[in-house]
């Protein structure tokens, strides 16, 4: 890929989704945009860039930016964290809220595997303390197609074999004639899916007890990370927490969140970590 073509597409990714794509990963751009290029009849990435520059089409530009975002995910990724959300965090939140309602947001939920993993835990391992609670999961992704795929809950041979036991697969998914496996109605009833760009205001999504945002921030430019983190922080209910992926930190990025005590990878509103610990 020529430097000027790479630079145009990398710039488009940065502005559209906050992604920072180094030149060493130009191959990712080609791989991810190939289906769009084929669909639109472009022979090369150069043709695609030429089209973008010559007739500004915001919807097409947004689609390209969304397509460039990684969709890497799997069932039960960082299983211990999900388990802890179910056994510790949600019961604590339920006690604190007295509304009987808890909301979880999977920010950058990609094709939905993490949302369905949480729904499986709600179906299989609901702690007595959560019985009767209304627990809603919202999974959002920047890409319209990815969001639609997540909503359909249909997964191929390789996807269902990574992180999902055969017992859970046969219990919660139905095999279709196409060979794909489709999430059961019971799982789907826990989750709603919505297209959302994390760079934009999340005020319309409501407030959440738990926000899970894993493997999203590391691929972003610093300025985008700050914007996203502050947006997540503003969507927390008092006492709620943000969960990031293993090894992802926020030190030096924002003063709106601080590490939760006794829960590695969890962040709470600044000034509340000690209060939460002493209340517990």
């Amino acid at each position: 890929m020529k430097d000027e073509v790479f630079n145009e597409l990398a710039d488009l990714a940065l502005k559209g989704s906050g992604q920072s794509i180094p030149k060493s990963k130009a191959y990712l751009i080609e791989a991810r945009l190939a289906p769009i290029a084929r669909r639109e009849g472009f022979g090369t990435m150069e043709d695609l860039v030429h089209c973008v520059k010559s007739r500004a089409n915001p919807a097409f530009i947004s689609e390209i930016a969304a397509t460039l975002v990684s969709k890497d995910t799997r069932f039960f990724r960082e299983r211990d964290t999900l388990q802890r959300v179910l056994t510790d965090v949600l019961p604590e939140r339920l006690k604190a809220t007295n509304t009987g309602r808890l909301k979880i947001w999977l920010a950058g939920g990609s094709t939905g595997q993490e949302a369905y993993s949480l729904a499986i835990l709600l179906e299989d391992e609901l702690p007595p303390a959560l019985r009767g609670a209304k627990i809603e999961i919202l999974s959002t992704d920047i890409c319209k197609v990815t969001t639609e795929n997540a909503r359909m809950g249909r997964y191929g041979h390789y996807d269902v074999q990574k992180g999902l036991s055969i017992h859970r697969l046969t219990k919660h998914f139905n095999r279709l004639e196409t060979g794909q496996w489709e999430a059961s109605e019971a799982l789907r009833s826990h989750i709603s899916f919505r297209q959302h760009n994390l760079l934009e205001s999340a005020a319309g999504l409501g407030k959440f007890d738990v926000i899970i945002c894993r493997n999203v921030l590391p691929g972003m430019a610093r300025s985008a990370r700050v914007r996203v983190v502050e947006s997540l922080a503003s969507q927390l209910v008092p006492g709620g927490l943000v969960l990031l992926g293993q090894g992802e930190g926020l030190i030096g990025l924002t003063n709106k969140l601080e590490p939760a005590r006794d829960f590695r990878g969890a962040w709470v509103a600044a000034g509340t970590a000690n209060a939460a610990a002493s209340a517990a």
């Binding site: 041979h157 074999q161 055969i166 046969t170």
Partner: protein
């Protein structure tokens, strides 16, 4: 070091699986059908069995049922690995004593993930 018995009538599949499972720190024993596998288990019971379904002489399901009746035959964790991947076949394998099920074709990530599901890695 744990031992894994790979049972498949395809030498290529055994070779590919062996390479992946060796990387997971297992000793490998191979068998080309269920009868050979049963003989290998009687000599030394493995910790894990990766088991094909359709094989000559004795198929995977018959081997599994026979294994579970052997002295010490409940010990190995058995991961079926088959092209027969509809719910009916999967349930039959589980009812017969399989601990996990891999739908062919597989890759290293799937194999490691399935071994992790049953606590082998």
């Amino acid at each position: 070091m744990k031992t894994c018995l790979i049972v498949d009538d395809s030498r290529v599949v055994r070779k590919v699986a062996a390479r992946i499972i060796q990387d997971l720190k297992f000793n490998i024993v191979e068998a080309g059908n269920g009868a050979e596998a049963l003989k290998a288990c009687r000599e030394s019971m493995p910790d894990a069995v990766l088991l094909d379904w359709n094989m000559p002489v004795m198929n995977g399901l018959d081997f599994l049922r026979a294994l579970r009746r052997e002295d010490g035959g409940k010990k190995p964790l058995v991961v079926f690995c088959s092209i027969e991947n509809d719910a009916e076949h999967i349930n039959e394998a589980i009812r017969s004593g399989a601990d996990e099920f891999i739908m062919k074709p597989f890759d290293a990530d799937i194999l490691e993930s399935k071994f992790a599901e049953v606590g082998l890695v």
